[in-house]
């Protein structure tokens, strides 16, 4: 198998020499035009879910593997449905049932799947950089989508978040966005911050206790708040992050009750935000820990639209990757 590095352009291992997207590993460093292309394409895919036949023949004959080393119902099912709606064949491989239990390495697994002429990989792994490793290893025509690697990146989540913001609030270059919660461990927060920055959002805030903020987080171009009321003042968008119980066990936080008192989003707290502010959450939610049910089920929540948009974004990403091959051929169709 040929190594992937020589075909990839410049400093960004995701881009092909012709500037097209070769893999989707991280939002960081992607040109704005690629983000806009994916967002624009997703807009077209949204309406396919409303048709009698919710399918296009775009990836007919292609095989996509969902390779999940971490459990995830929502992300895996939306990737699976996205590939199926594009008419691809889909293999779901979960680590619990795979040969990894017998000691097979990640790259051995990839080699075996490549020998079955798989076209694309959607991969989730607990280690940051795992998707990059696979992208360097696969055949030249195969592509890799990072569906979450450690604390590093979850690019399709970042894209679906900005897609949701664009659809509900318009262009981000006038918006104030607050991201609240466990920024330290959140690949969702990182991907959303990168996507918003690339699209020109002028006011991105992170709101969290000091124990849940990465060092030098300001270098990402965000403003830091430790007080939720201050952080929410006048914002147009609030993204609440899921708080994991192990943060309590690791003594990063006193208790879930205390956390909710200081950082939980309630209707009263939301009054600080713009009256038309929307609330996002990547799910699954801990009701009563980071978000109150009244807000989660209220009129400002766009949490279920995020799921619908996630499907369209994943269809758009798979389409962009599968369609980026041999672009120099003549376009005329007639």
């Amino acid at each position: 198998m040929s190594p992937a590095f020589p075909r990839l352009g410049g400093g960004n291992p995701q881009l092909r020499p012709d500037g097209r997207l070769g893999h989707l590993l991280s939002i960081e460093g992607l040109p704005e035009r690629i983000l806009l292309e994916i967002l624009n394409t997703a807009e077209s895919f949204l309406q396919i879910g409303e048709r009698a036949v919710k399918k296009t023949p775009t990836l007919r004959g292609k095989t996509v593997v969902n390779l999940f080393f971490e459990s995830s119902t929502r992300t895996r099912t939306t990737f699976e449905l996205a590939a199926k709606r594009l008419s691809a064949d889909v293999l779901n491989i979960n680590v619990a049932t795979s040969s990894h239990n017998k000691g097979e390495s990640l790259l051995d697994t990839i080699d075996n799947l490549m020998a079955m002429h798989v076209d694309g990989f959607v991969m989730r792994h607990s280690e940051a950089g795992a998707a990059h490793l696979v992208a360097r290893h696969v055949d030249q025509d195969a592509w890799v989508v990072n569906a979450g690697d450690g604390r590093h990146a979850h690019p399709t989540q970042g894209l679906l978040d900005v897609f949701t913001i664009l659809r509900h609030k318009g262009p981000v270059d006038q918006l104030k966005v607050a991201i609240v919660g466990d920024i330290l461990h959140s690949r969702v927060a990182r991907s959303q911050i990168h996507a918003l920055s690339i699209l020109g959002c002028p006011d991105i805030r992170v709101v969290a206790p000091k124990t849940l903020l990465p060092a030098a987080v300001e270098h990402l171009g965000v403003r830091v708040f430790h007080d939720l009321d201050e952080g929410l003042e006048g914002v147009d968008v609030v993204t609440m992050l899921r708080l994991q119980q192990e943060r309590m066990e690791a003594n990063l936080l006193p208790s879930s009750n205390e956390y909710f008192r200081q950082y939980g989003l309630t209707d009263k707290r939301l009054e600080r935000a713009d009256p038309d502010a929307i609330v996002l959450h990547p799910g699954p939610m801990n009701r009563g820990v980071e978000i109150d049910s009244v807000v989660a089920d209220g009129p400002r929540a766009v949490i279920l639209p995020q799921v619908t948009h996630g499907l369209a974004i994943r269809m758009a990403v798979l389409t962009s990757l599968a369609g980026a091959r041999d672009r120099d051929l003549h376009r005329d169709h007639g």
Partner: protein, 168 residues
């Protein structure tokens, strides 16, 4: 080369040919981009009450994995029930027939029409599929490698590029 014939009388003539279909509760769909311009002109001439539909066949192209996606795909939009309806499908230039094949596939993903009538502004040679138009504005025979393209939306003009054009 821009030696565009007068488009308006051609559209009048196409509308006249399509008018008898209106009794069948026909609805119209244009193919992005040029086909939508022609469809808008015909839709207006015929005074159709049903809103004009539009399809972008990018996701249905048979050469998608070779040439990829256009960076600006438009959302298809068919704002009426396709089932058991007469659909007037409109494009600017009928050449290989592959665009029409893709558009037919896409329309069938919305439902099962009673009949589809194909109307094109220009019918040129070079067919690769057994597809022909029911209503044609004008016929063109062009040498291999030549292109004929509709520019618009206003004014609509036909531009021919490449080898010498031969009128049929």
């Amino acid at each position: 080369m821009n030696d565009s014939p007068e488009i308006e009388p051609i559209l009048d003539q196409m509308a006249a040919q399509l008018r008898p279909l209106l009794a069948e509760d026909a609805a119209m769909v244009g193919i992005y981009t040029g086909g939508v311009w022609v469809a808008q002109a015909l839709h207006q001439r015929l005074g159709l009450e049903t809103e004009l539909g539009q399809v972008d066949i990018s996701f249905y192209r048979d050469d998608f994995t070779r040439i990829g996606l256009h960076p600006e795909v438009r959302a298809s939009h068919i704002p009426f029930d396709v089932d058991n309806r007469v659909i007037i499908l409109v494009d600017d230039v009928l050449h290989t027939g592959r665009t029409i094949r893709a558009a037919l596939n896409e329309i069938f993903d919305y439902g099962r029409p009673a009949r589809i009538v194909l109307a094109v502004l220009v019918d040129r040679d070079g067919r690769e599929l057994p597809i022909q138009a029911d209503v044609v504005g004008l016929h063109r025979r062009l040498a291999a490698g030549a292109q004929i393209k509709l520019t618009g939306p206003a004014p609509l003009q036909l531009v021919t590029r490449g080898a010498t054009e031969h009128k049929a």
